[in-house]
Symmetry: C2
Subunit: 258 residues, 2 copies
């Protein structure tokens, strides 16, 4: 009896944005491991499945639990929202393998990608990630605030479009405001800022503003914040939220700034 | 007769990584517009469809053509590989709207995200994007090499994991070698470098090396290159390519470096 471990991402919001291969892997699993919010999004499988729900902390413990089940011969799927490799469970599983039982290294482990939140958020508002971009998690649960500020500064100096994951939670209400304050030192007041709530779902909501006017309290745990590059532009539409896009061509961006 | 325009991403490689909603949009389209390589990946629709294939240049012309068709009442889908918002067609469409006919602004335009190449590449090798990361296109067709080097330096100084899109083509054989040379000025020789060819397809191939040893000639047009952060680690396996992952926790990374 040989078990397996597959780490999957459900994609954003609705089930019709989960890839067919992930849907198949989920149907065939004997055990699903993950944060309860994500497990609740998984349709019931073809046969009895054990669902091991947890809260969204203790990622390493959850990873070890999944590896243990796989080593006992179960076909285990670790479930993340979005993409499992972006601020989610995949890194925790490999860290658990590296620091865990030697036999875990011989398990068949596989990662199945998904649409990560920043892609869904960008799609809601147009094409803000059209140029070079970076993704930074504002959570300082796993890294220092010093590291985060260093990266915000580097991202600003490089004029990347910046996707801010985990901008706020009940236990971390101040990070986003501090991040905006830092970014205002290096980026123009008129830099485009977009808040996207619940991207890729029926509850999706978009708020387009500027760095100068951005109010960090607009963000909650389900919000993805995008901070534009110098060339990112707003295209107004009558009666609805504007489009936001970052031209790929520098010539066009240059004209827009002049 | 009111037309529409939807910009979709097929995801990487195989059709089972295209989201169901994109598959549905493709089936319902009257007209598909895109680079021939991507159009050839789209299964035949339920009814006759006009397929407007082009080469992979002249993105703005292609965008204008799609907008014109939509304004004539067609249900047009613009097809990209991966995600349409990442170094692909979505930005070109909004740029064409901004600079084009006023009536194009009133068209129902929608973007449907997909799994972009770096997520598929990361999944092939483990979880290299586990920490903060950035995406840089090495193509200088649309931006200056000065902008690219500025971003490479910023990404290195911020210790981001770096995903390099468009690392090489026949007309641009030297960019990746120059990028490695630049990164060697700022990043340790042992920094993990991963070449992933044809991520997410049956032809997928992974090559794990270090910045010191990285040979730019390994890359072709279908390659995605990942350059690790200081904390990115290699987890060897017997008889196969190693896993690569970037721990989310700094404490663990700190231990590994000591």
């Amino acid at each position: 009896m040989s078990g397996s471990l597959t780490i999957v991402g459900l994609g954003p919001g609705d089930v019709d944005r989960t890839t067919p291969i992930v849907a198949q892997v989920l149907r065939e699993a004997t055990d699903l491991v993950g944060y309860a919010t994500y497990l609740n999004r998984v349709p019931l499988g073809e046969h009895d499945q054990h669902r091991h729900a947890s809260d969204n902390r203790f990622e390493l413990d959850r990873a070890r639990h999944a590896l243990q089940l796989a080593s006992e011969g179960r076909n285990v799927v670790v479930v993340s929202g979005g993409d499992p490799g972006v601020f989610a469970m995949a890194a925790a599983v490999f860290e658990a393998v590296a620091t865990g039982e030697p036999r875990w290294r011989t398990l068949p482990i596989r990662v199945e990608p998904g649409v990560t939140a920043m892609l869904a958020a960008a799609a809601e508002v147009g094409a803000p990630l059209g140029g070079d971009f970076c993704a930074i998690s504002l959570s300082d649960n796993l890294k220092s605030w010093t590291t985060i500020t260093r990266r915000l500064e580097a991202a600003a100096r490089g004029d990347f479009v910046i996707a801010l994951y985990n901008p706020a939670s009940k236990s971390r209400p101040h990070q986003l405001g501090e991040a905006f304050a830092l970014l205002r030192q290096w980026k123009a007041p008129g830099t485009v800022v977009v808040f996207v709530h619940a991207a890729g779902s029926k509850d999706a909501a978009v708020h387009v503003t500027t760095l100068e006017d951005a109010d960090s309290h607009v963000a909650d745990m389900r919000t993805l914040v995008l901070v534009g590059a110098a060339s990112t532009r707003v295209l107004s539409r009558e009666g609805t939220t504007p489009w936001v896009y970052t031209p790929r061509s520098e010539e066009v961006a240059g004209c827009a700034r002049s």
